[in-house]
């Protein structure tokens, strides 16, 4: 294991993000978990997760990378299962599958090149790395675990998940595909738009944030595909800060008012401003308004695609960026501007939460400091690509208009949407009962308990052997 990777240009933003996130997760965990047993368990798990993260960032070969990825997975699984065992199971299984795929790819690379060192992946094994890191980074159709796990985990764990764990997928992609790789750009653009679109509908704050994470991961994937890993790393840092802030403050809101449903939270901001202030501030920065780090980085990603990219790729990315403003408005505006006289006052607890609100705002300030205002201080984290937004194109305008239209329509529809939002991937997850049941029936026939059937199978097997050997 070499520690040399820890401080190079790609890993350093991840390391910084990890440091801030783990510290803030520990502090907010102290407040979030009430029972002493849970508190101790969470502390131990955070320690394990941070050990795994350091391992991931410092490892110089793929095997150790997977090794530490699994440690991180396990500790996060354990954190999620403190609240939602079923979502945790989905998370664990998907991550194990991802690790297995990467392991197979690693073995292939070793057989191909005779070296395990982290680096560009030769051709026939790329698909395994794409699939493996694709699950980690929640590529479309491989993202089934993300809304479940992020939405249902305890908030500090969600912050770690969204802030660091999914970024390991991006890190792996950066390492495995340092050269421009067109399929990743395609996947990234689709993913950014798809995540943003899905984020418009749910009523659960954390579910919105989860889909928002997916959308941002799409931006990063597009940057990786365009061959500019530095932009992806910087984006990952900024996004980690913002999402850490948002999830922790969503936890504050949830603990204070006892619910995460936007409809039930209408008007709560008026009653108890401190609880929702952090969330609102975070949403402001996440929305990518001009002047924030997100704005700069989104435009860097779009411009990094270059002029050879098909016209619809910047278009979709711009639309996704615009929609971010919309869906974040969806979850923050009702906190202030809706009257909740019909539903009665949401319950709320006093005390403690202000400190944590301040904490998360501090994290946020760090983002701004790092990315926008003080480039000379934290220059290592910053990428200077020149400010060449794609917004001078016509399609940027059309994209913004289209995004606005979508949000407008969605806002009109929001009233009639059931609690979980649109029929998203969750339906597919519940459909697994059907195939599983059918499979159960079929595999029951695999062991009928009848002796002559056993002998018959053995005979068929022998005949097959005779024919092939």
């Amino acid at each position: 294991m070499s520690l040399s990777n820890l401080f190079d240009g790609i890993n350093a933003p991840f390391l910084a993000a990890g440091l801030v996130l783990y510290i803030s997760a520990v502090i907010s965990g102290e407040w979030y978990f009430k029972a002493p047993g849970e508190r101790v368990r969470f502390r131990v798990l955070v320690a394990a997760a941070s050990a795994g993260s350091i391992g991931i960032l410092s490892s110089g070969n793929w095997l150790l990378f997977v090794f530490f990825l699994e440690i991180l997975t396990l500790s996060l699984w354990s954190m999620i299962s403190m609240k939602e065992p079923r979502a945790a199971l989905v998370y664990l299984l998907s991550q194990l599958a991802a690790a297995g795929l990467i392991l197979v790819g690693t073995a292939g690379v070793y057989a191909h090149t005779g070296s395990l060192a982290i680096g560009p992946v030769p051709e026939p094994w790329r698909v395994f790395f794409m699939a493996g890191f694709g699950i980690k980074a929640a590529f479309p159709l491989l993202h089934f675990w993300l809304p479940e796990a992020h939405g249902k985990a305890p908030s500090p764990a969600s912050a770690l998940l969204s802030g660091f764990a999914v970024k390991t997928g991006i890190l792996g992609l950066i390492r495995a595909f340092p050269e421009p790789f067109a399929p990743l750009v395609l996947i990234g653009t689709v993913m950014a738009f798809f995540g943003a679109f899905m984020a418009v509908f749910p009523r659960d704050i954390k579910r919105v944030l989860a889909y928002s994470t997916m959308s941002h991961l799409g931006f990063m994937t597009a940057a990786v595909g365009a061959g500019s890993g530095e932009i992806a790393a910087a984006y990952a840092f900024s996004h980690a800060m913002i999402k850490g802030n948002l999830f922790i403050s969503a936890g504050i809101v949830e603990k204070t008012f006892g619910t995460r449903d936007i409809f039930a939270l209408r008007g709560s901001g008026r009653l108890h401003f401190a609880a929702v202030a952090a969330l609102t501030a975070g949403a402001f920065f996440a929305a990518g308004l001009p002047g924030t780090a997100s704005y700069l980085l989104k435009n860097s990603v779009i411009s990094s695609l270059g002029h050879t990219a098909p016209w619809w790729q910047p278009f979709m990315l711009t639309a996704a960026g615009m929609m971010a403003a919309g869906y974040l408005l969806n979850i923050t505006a009702p906190l202030f501007f809706r009257d909740n006289s019909k539903n009665g006052t949401p319950k709320h607890e006093e005390g403690g939460n202000i400190i944590f609100a301040v904490l998360s705002v501090t994290i946020l300030l760090l983002v701004i400091a790092a990315d926008s205002f003080f480039p000379s201080i934290l220059h290592a984290f910053r990428v200077d690509t020149g400010f060449t937004p794609a917004s001078d194109k016509l399609e940027a305008f059309i994209a913004s208009a289209a995004a606005g239209l979508i949000i407008l329509l969605a806002r009109l529809r929001l009233k009639g949407i059931p609690e979980q939002g649109l029929p998203d991937i969750k339906i597919c997850l519940s459909m697994d009962e059907g195939p599983l049941y059918a499979f159960n029936r079929v595999s029951g026939c695999c062991h009928p308990g009848r002796l002559n059937t056993f002998v018959f199978v053995a005979l068929v097997f022998l005949v097959l052997l005779m024919l092939t050997l």
Binding site: H447, P448, G449, R450, L451, N452, L459
Partner: protein, 111 residues
């Protein structure tokens, strides 16, 4: 001439195998096992045959047949006998529980 012996033994082997699959009576299953084993022993003994051979007991009155298959056969007979005895013992014990020696009924363990 020896080919006929091989053909016979292969046929007996297949009959034994078919018996195990087609018959539901456990005793017939054991019978099938015994048939298969006899067929294999027949193949082994036949393989020692030399045209015009005599028994391998000194003094030889001509070219002796291969004695090694005989030794194997003796060993394998005893082994097969113990197997079959054990199978019968199991069936007797099982018959106490199921009150039947029908294969289709003795399938408490499945799935």
């Amino acid at each position: 001439m020896i080919t006929l012996s091989y053909v016979t033994s292969v046929i007996i082997f297949c009959i034994g195998l078919y018996t195990i699959m087609a018959r539901r009576n456990l005793f017939k299953t054991v019978l099938g096992l015994a048939l298969m084993e006899s067929a294999i022993l027949l193949i082994i003994v036949s393989s020692g045959y030399i045209p015009g051979g005599v028994p391998p007991i000194e003094p030889f009155m001509g070219p002796a047949v291969n004695p090694l298959p005989h030794a194997f056969t003796l060993t394998a007979i005893v082994i097969g006998a113990s197997d079959i005895a054990l199978a019968l013992a199991f069936i007797i014990k099982l018959q106490r529980h199921y009150r039947s020696v029908d294969l289709d009924r003795i399938r408490g363990l499945r799935g």
